[in-house]
Every structure is written in structure tokens, then in C-alpha cells.
Amino acid sequence: MTSVVGMPRALAYHDYFPFWEAFFDGFGVRLTASPPTNKALVHEGVRRAVDGTCFPVKILLGHVHWLIENGYTTIFLPRFVSVAPKEYICPKFMGLPDMVQATFGTKAKFLVPTIDLNLPKKCFYEQIQTLGSEFGCSPKQTKLAFRQGLEALRDYRDALLKGRWPANSNSQNADNNQPTLEVEGKKSLKVGLLGHSYLIYDDFANMHIVNKLQNMEVEVMTVDMLPDERIDAQSLAWPKRMFWTSGRRILGAAREYVEMRIPGIIYVTAFACGTDSLTAELVERTLRRESPIPQLILNLDEHTGEAGIVTRLEAFVDMLRWRINR
């Protein structure tokens, strides 16, 4: 049986890789991710994508291509439908394994368990057991591996909550977890990011927004740095429950940022993102009406010219400092 399985470093990777890594490790399989997104990889993804898909999906195709080119014969690509009862994931995630298999055919074997927590829990455990038995694992062993995965996931989320960045990110290093930057003559400035983890943690896709802000002596917060209880409570304050998990967390975080009186909010979105077309608009309109906190929406796509992003970020930070120093 295969002992090395590849996972594309894209989309769900950013939320769940530590879980799967520990899970596979539980029965002696090494789960390896493709390298951090780069230009060549994006190029390959864009070439293969049908037009009309969003940038993050194109990035994923590039990662799958890399894995195949680099000799991975088994690729792990779970079908995410729902990760919480009565909530869903972006519909593109559901069709993703089909899209990938239609593009790459039989060049590799794809492991595609369905993650749907909207169904009874039994169905989810069945998927996990099937995955284990693929590698000749007993039900008991699989169960242990599953627990191991959950533990790793909890550790990962705790680390994010404490303000550490995922290891693959070039941004503020995990070890270099300094408190607030107090720079002479400049009051420390905090900015809250909103957006999907696969944009926030993919430095190439977001054109190093986090690095750029940190170089301007701005302390950056993400949705994952807010406690789940706060996000859950705040997401209930919206008139209607948001049924996409990521969108719900973004809405919750937006209100929490307002309550924290964070000086500025930056919403990072990908051009043609279906769920953000609702979420970003809701956040923008509501916050504009209900709070004086400035917001900036950055729309990312395949372009590599950074001038537009830099101008907007600089102007935004100038504006925040100007306001604070008053």
C-alpha cells in the first residue's frame, strides 16, 4: 500500500491539514503537501481551469498538477460539503473532486472521502473508517488515528488563536511572536483582516498583504485569532443566520472587531468569489451604517502587478494613522 499521500496546499488545506496529517500518521502514512503557492504553479492551474472559476480554485488545480508532476500517485482531496450541522461550505468545494478528476483523469489515484456533518455523525465515521481500511487499518486503529487528528487540530487552532501564523506563511514567524509593535513616534496600529483562510494564509495569492502591513508597523489580526465563542455569539447578532461556515465566521468576526473598536478592517476577497459576493456586501453595508470604523475591500485575482494593492494599503494605513493622531 502507498505510504506517501499528497495533499494540495490550497483551499481546505489551510483549515484542516494538521488534522489529516496526524490522522494518516496514525497508521503510518505520510501526508505531504505541495509547496507554498508560486507563480509557476499558478500558471499551470490557470491553464487548466475552466474560465469562471475563482482564483483559489485555479490555485488548487496548480497544486494538484505539481503533485502529479512530482510523482505522487495518490492524492488526498476530501469532498467538503459541511463541517457543522445546518451549515455548508462553498458549493465549489463540493464539486471540487469532480472538477479535478475531470481535469487530470487517471494520472493519479484520488482519495475522496465526503465530509458532511449535516448528515448523522454515523455517516461521517463510516467515511473515516473506509479511509482507514483503504490502508489496511483496523476499525480500532482508525479510531485512534482519528482522535490523534482531532488533538492536532485543536493544537493548531489554539496556536492560531494565540496569534501564531501557520508555518507555511512567510508572515510574522511562529517563534517570533512579539507583542504589540510600539514604534517611536507612531502609535501602534491594529488592523483586522476578514476573508477566507485560503486567501489570508496564502502569501502568494494575497500578494503578501500581511507582510506589507507588518512592514508598515501594523499589527494584523485574523478571524482565527478571535475565540470561537465570540464569533458564534456575534454571528447570531446578524438578522439572519449565514449558512456558509466561513461566511458565518467572517460576519461574526466583523461584529467582534467593531466591539473591540479595532481601528480598521480589511476584507480580502477573490474576484468572482460566490459566497463573498453576499458576505462582503453585507459586511460593508452594515458596518458603514453602524460604525465609524474604516474598511477597505481588496479584490484579488491573477494579476501580479502589486501597485494597485500597495497604493490602497498605504493610503488606508495613512488614513488610520491620521485619524488616530487627531
Binding site: 497604493t311 490602497r312 498605504e314
Partner: protein, 334 residues
């Protein structure tokens, strides 16, 4: 004459025009120059410097600031004290001209922006997103298609009696709509006024969306020269729209003001290389780094073979060594 005086220089290198402004101690513009960039920012900046030197041979420069999409390049070749984004520069200049300004509408060649200020502080801003339909190039193209000089555009539009409605969502749609209106016999004036209206609607939908536009409203940028646009804006906003006398060089004015403040505040000498810059030869060469899969497009700027600035890399691999890096990079994309 300000011959002996020390003045501050602001340079705005935009996609369409490059502007240079000199201000005195009282923030008055003593000199301004509007040049077409024509895709050659370095010779154009050199030309601008040469003409300043010719006019004021003995003048001393106290501080230099650059702005606009070519701010980094311009900053590297002249030795700028401040390299500032154009939003901040326009806001600072607008405040200087009219301290109680609440809205700044700026329409340039390839971008358009709105800046909302309250009590002299920027509280909100927006720039056009993916589409350039609400910018000067749109008017430029349509004027060229109708065979009229862009300078006459506004005056002709003002003569309109019955403005026709033209679709403004996209230049392609606008053009087909406009041809149709021509074919059925509408006058040139009515069509031009219609174009102004279309562009203002597009601007409001795209850039001005959700913004609290309150008077006093300043209208700046190259397109503010167009009287038809000003009128269309006034009709849309239902309030007077003020075009400052220096509307076409407001970015450069802002850069000069910011540089002046910065140099005075830090009590440092300017980094300006001197007017000799206009005669020195600059080389720009680019290469694609093949060290990793990112294939960054690296740009080298050298003066007479000596490397003075470099950018384009995503990592620190190509950073210019300390002895050469006396240029303001903190504020730039490098």
C-alpha cells in the same frame, strides 16, 4: 523672484501626465509644469527638472516628494525625501486649498477616486476597481472617435440643449450606443453632454457607491478641465463642485507639501540629487529571476552604471546593499 529662496518640489508621475510643482514657504505654487508621460517616465521627469533649472538657475531645493503610479521610479532617480501614495497626496493638497473640504473627486487618466474627509481627516476613500470606464481615457477615446480635440470637449458639451442618454457601464456599450445616437441625428453637443452624464453615473455607481458625499466638493485631476464633466457632476450631486486652480497638479502639490513637512519635522537635509539629474544617463534593465518558481520580474535602476535602486522581488534576495540604499523604500512596493 524666488531665485534665492528655498522651495519644495513635488512630482506626480501618473499614467497619462507627469506634473511638477514648486511651492514656497507659504504653500503657494510658484511654478507648475504639466507634461505627458507617454510611457517614458524617466526622460519626462528629466525634462521637467531641466525646465525648472532653466527658469530658476539659482534656486535651492529644500525637499522633494513623489507620488503617482510612477512614484517609486521617480523617487529613485531624483532622490526623493518622501514617496507617497496618490490618495494621501490628493487629500493633503485638497485640505491645503480648502481646509473645510468634505469630498474630493479625482478623475485621472486611468484611475478615479473619491476621498471623504471630515474636519481635515480622511475618513473613507475608494478607487475604481477592475474597470477603467469611469476615467479620463474613456473620454479621450470617445473624443478621438468623434474627431474633436479633448480640450474642446467640455465647451461643446456645455452647449447642449437636450442631453441624450448614453449607456455608461462599459466603453464598448457606450460606443455602440453613441454611434446609434449619431445615426439618428442627435447633435454633437447633446451626445458629448450625454457622455459626461454617462461617465458621472458610472463613477457614482462604481467609485462613489455608498459614500456620504457632502459639500464642499472639490473636483481635481486632469478630467476636471472638462466643463461638461463639472456640470454633470453638479447636476448629479445637486451641489456646487469646486475646481481648484491647480486642479491638474494637485497630486504633485500634495507630494511637495508632505515632503516639506517631513524634512522640517525630521530636521534633515534633502536627499535630492540636484538638477544635474536631468543630464545624467539612467539605465533601467529588467530580468526574470529564476532562483525559485515565482519568476519575479526584477527592475534595476542605475545611474551611469551604478545601481541605485531595485525592486520587483518577492523575497529579500535582490535587496540593494546598504551603501546604496539611501532611498525611501519603507513606503514602497519593494
Amino acid at each position: 523672484m524666488p531665485d534665492q529662496e528655498s522651495l519644495c518640489l513635488g512630482i506626480d508621475v501618473g499614467s497619462v501626465s507627469t506634473n511638477l510643482v514648486l511651492i514656497d514657504d507659504h504653500h503657494n505654487i510658484v511654478y507648475k509644469k504639466y507634461l505627458r508621460t507617454q510611457g517614458q517616465p524617466i526622460p519626462v521627469v528629466q525634462e521637467g527638472l531641466a525646465s525648472i533649472e532653466k527658469t530658476y538657475p539659482k534656486m535651492k531645493i529644500q525637499a522633494v516628494g513623489t507620488t503617482g503610479s510612477g512614484r517609486q521610479l521617480a523617487g529613485a532617480i531624483v532622490g526623493a525625501d518622501v514617496v507617497k501614495n496618490e490618495i494621501t497626496a490628493h487629500a493633503v493638497a485638497a485640505c491645503c486649498f480648502q481646509p473645510d473640504v468634505q469630498t474630493v473627486i479625482e478623475i485621472g487618466g486611468q484611475d478615479s477616486k473619491i476621498i471623504i474627509l471630515r474636519e481635515g481627516v480622511v475618513t473613507d476613500f475608494a478607487m475604481n476597481t477592475v474597470c477603467a470606464a469611469g476615467t479620463g481615457s474613456f473620454l479621450d477615446q470617445q473624443a478621438a472617435r468623434l474627431g474633436i480635440p479633448i480640450e474642446d470637449f467640455g465647451e461643446i458639451a456645455l452647449r447642449s440643449q437636450n442631453t441624450v442618454r448614453i449607456a455608461g457601464r462599459c466603453t464598448v456599450f457606450a460606443e455602440s450606443d453613441m454611434i446609434h445616437k449619431q445615426q439618428v441625428g442627435h447633435s454633437m453637443a447633446d451626445i458629448l453632454a450625454g457622455l459626461c452624464g454617462a461617465m458621472v453615473r458610472n463613477y457614482m455607481n462604481n467609485v462613489g457607491k455608498g459614500k456620504q458625499i457632502r459639500p464642499p466638493v472639490l473636483f481635481q485631476g486632469g478630467v476636471a478641465a472638462n466643463l461638461g464633466m463639472r456640470k454633470a457632476l453638479e447636476e448629479e450631486l445637486n451641489c456646487p463642485v469646486v475646481v481648484p486652480p491647480a486642479f491638474d497638479v494637485m497630486g504633485a502639490l500634495g507630494a511637495a507639501l508632505i515632503a516639506k513637512e517631513q524634512v522640517e519635522y525630521s530636521n534633515q537635509l534633502t536627499r535630492f540629487r540636484g538638477f544635474g539629474v536631468s543630464e545624467r544617463s539612467f539605465q533601467v534593465d529588467t530580468f526574470i529571476c529564476s532562483h525559485c518558481a515565482n519568476h519575479c520580474e526584477i527592475v534595476n535602476i542605475s545611474i551611469e552604471q551604478e545601481l541605485v535602486a531595485r525592486w520587483g522581488a518577492r523575497c529579500g534576495r535582490w535587496n540593494v546593499k546598504e551603501k546604496n540604499s539611501k532611498y525611501p523604500h519603507s513606503d514602497s512596493a519593494s
